[in-house]
């Protein structure tokens, strides 16, 4: 795999402008706040000296680009500033919370892949059948279902009525994995349903396209069995598309996790950003948003590189 480092290098180079723009957007968030940013950051009861100190620290008296440069320099060194509420370093806050979010997101992605992809394949191989219309209807329902409502329904059924699984909180996976999984199960299911629906729809339409193509018809005409056509040609050709579809779900998972965490009182990054946004703790909001977007970009990088390895044609584009 001698071309792997080259591949990663060239993709990173392409991603660089996207990362720069993304950090710029995160930095600009503070500019949306009405009023003097120094006053905003200093908090409600700050002394005049403190406000002046913050103005100096962040360089609010300097041009916008200089401010951005200074901010970016700190960020690159891992300094995301301090929380206005608790004065804890933002970096530490995110490090504490993010594992809980990543656990339910990964768990949900696993559930969604195991159910959504087979459903999409099943529907695509039987287009127009009852199974197909069932899958399509369930998928339409799943896309429109508010995940936090589903989460509440799950809590009522499986925690309050049946007492099968805990309704609130989280446990660290590294310390007690069993209980961590138990706590993450209901949130992961609630989060997975929308992704299952989306995966089933997209895998179905991607596979229908491949199965309807000329060369598949030729293979069928040559007398190849439908199973062999599906496995050897259909799915192999769709695998890269599936990878891309999975990569695109990451955004949906992170978005959903923010709301789901509120239902299950999970101390995750989503709860952190929502709470900080309500309480005007801007450095924390910026930090969490930045970490989320960098994760999404890196996951897309991994998807890109994997696709290129799976399908050399994709590497050239």
């Amino acid at each position: 795999m001698s071309r792997l480092p080259f591949l990663i290098g060239s993709r990173l180079w392409q991603l660089l402008p996207i990362i720069v723009f993304a950090t710029f957007v995160v930095f600009s968030l503070l500019q949306l706040v009405p009023g003097d940013p120094a006053l905003v950051l200093a908090g409600d009861y700050a002394s005049r000296e403190r406000i002046e100190e913050i103005r100096q620290l962040y360089g609010f008296d300097k041009p916008f680009v200089v401010q951005y440069g200074a901010w970016l320099w700190h960020v690159v060194q891992g300094d995301l500033g301090k929380s206005l509420l608790s004065s804890a370093p933002v970096y530490d806050l995110i490090l504490q919370r993010m594992p809980n979010t990543l656990l339910i997101a990964t768990y949900a992605l696993l559930i969604a892949s195991l159910i959504g992809i087979p459903l999409g394949v099943l529907a695509a191989t039987k287009v127009g059948s009852r199974i197909d219309s069932f899958v399509t209807s369930v998928a339409s329902l799943g896309v429109a279902l508010p995940s936090f409502w589903l989460a509440i329904l799950l809590v009522v059924t499986f925690s309050m009525d049946l007492h099968w699984l805990p309704a609130t909180g989280a446990r660290p996976f590294s310390v007690e994995p069993g209980r961590a999984i138990a706590h993450a199960t209901l949130p992961a299911i609630a989060l997975a349903v929308g992704v299952i629906a989306e995966l089933a729809r997209q895998v179905r339409s991607a596979l229908i396209e491949v199965l309807g193509s000329q060369y598949v018809r030729t293979l069928r005409a040559k007398g190849l069995s439908p199973i062999s056509v599906l496995w050897k040609h259909g799915l192999r050709n769709v695998s890269v598309t599936m990878l891309t579809i999975l990569g695109l779900q990451v955004n949906r998972l992170f978005s959903g996790a923010v709301v789901i965490e509120a239902v299950f009182a999970i101390p995750g990054a989503g709860q952190l950003v929502a709470y900080s946004a309500i309480n005007k703790d801007y450095p924390v909001v910026q930090g969490v948003v930045l970490v989320f977007v960098v994760m999404v970009i890196l996951i897309n990088l991994i998807v890109d590189v994997l696709s290129a390895l799976l399908d050399p044609r994709a590497a050239e584009s």
Partner: protein, 294 residues
């Protein structure tokens, strides 16, 4: 062969593609049901003040968390407010939210897409990377952050959601613009002295409008769900105003005492999102019948 054909003008499709409304209605029951539901919802929103049996914000401490009765069909909430009235008053807020977000997305996204596609070159390169960057943010997370910066409340929340949606439309319009801009018939039009404005208005916009309409209808559903989510997180509609997401948040707090209260708002959100989605898909099929099998 006509002159149009020689110049590569697409066959005059307006007559064939202008969907026969009634035929469409008869052939697509799902679209009819969705449209019917949405009209009822709009009617309820406009006449909420007349239809709702009680005030949505009037509290009554003698009737807290009541089960459904003849006087309160859906019971009362933790402050003794009539749940049915709050459900009805949630409709205008939800529709306002969805349409506001989508309008913002159109106003920002469509001109940006036109501009990027039309200018092309390094500007296209630069702005396309910028759009990629915006689309890399988890939408709700970015909307929360922008709402937090602008100040919490329904209007700001939906401005944020619209801002988050805009790059999606910009990307679609850009792609359409690039295709049409280099078409032979546009070259011909330019040869005959057509100005940039004329080309954008008469050639590019009509071609870009179809995918935009489909996307916008589907966005209404996403915006509605986003409003419900943000109101659930208390970043959207502020109390005492009624919203379906906010009602669910309150009902969840008192779930042990009044478990029945979390059904109605959830169904309202689900049905409305389903209706927008179904409508979007029907429009897609109506505009391009080859999509039916997908």
């Amino acid at each position: 062969m006509s002159v149009d054909g020689v110049l590569g003008v697409p066959p005059r499709t307006t007559a064939t593609r202008r969907v026969n409304f009634w035929r469409w209605v008869r052939s697509d029951l799902r679209a009819v049901l969705s449209l019917g539901y949405l009209f009822i919802l709009i009617f309820v929103s406009v006449f909420a003040w007349k239809i709702a049996p009680y005030s949505p914000i009037e509290q009554n401490v003698t009737e807290l968390l009541m089960e459904p009765t003849w006087s309160h069909w859906l019971g009362t909430d933790d402050l003794g407010r009539d749940v049915l009235s709050r459900l009805i008053w949630g409709a205008p807020n939800s529709l306002y939210a969805a349409f506001l977000a989508v309008t913002v997305a159109i106003v920002l996204g469509v001109p940006l897409g036109l501009l990027i596609g039309f200018l092309g070159g390094w500007f296209d390169e630069l702005m396309s990377r910028f759009i990629d960057a915006l689309l890399s943010f988890p939408p709700i997370v970015l909307a929360i952050a922008v709402t937090g910066a602008l100040g919490i409340g329904l209007t700001n929340a939906m401005l944020s959601v619209g801002f988050v949606f805009a790059p999606v439309l910009a990307r679609i319009v850009r792609a359409q613009t690039l295709v049409v801009k280099s078409a032979l018939y546009v070259d011909a039009a330019r040869g005959f002295g057509a100005g940039t404005g004329h080309i954008i208005w008469r050639h590019i916009l009509p071609n870009a409008i179809q995918p935009v309409i489909v996307q916008v209808t589907l966005m209404l559903a996403i915006a509605l769900l986003a409003e419900a989510s943000l109101s659930f997180l208390s970043l959207g509609v502020q109390p005492p105003q009624a919203s379906w997401g906010g009602m669910l948040a309150r009902a969840y707090n008192y779930i042990e005492l009044a478990p029945a209260q979390m059904y109605a708002p959830g169904f309202a959100i689900l049905l409305t999102a389903l209706a927008f989605n179904a409508l979007g898909e029907s429009i897609l099929v109506a505009l391009d019948p080859t999509m039916k099998r997908r």
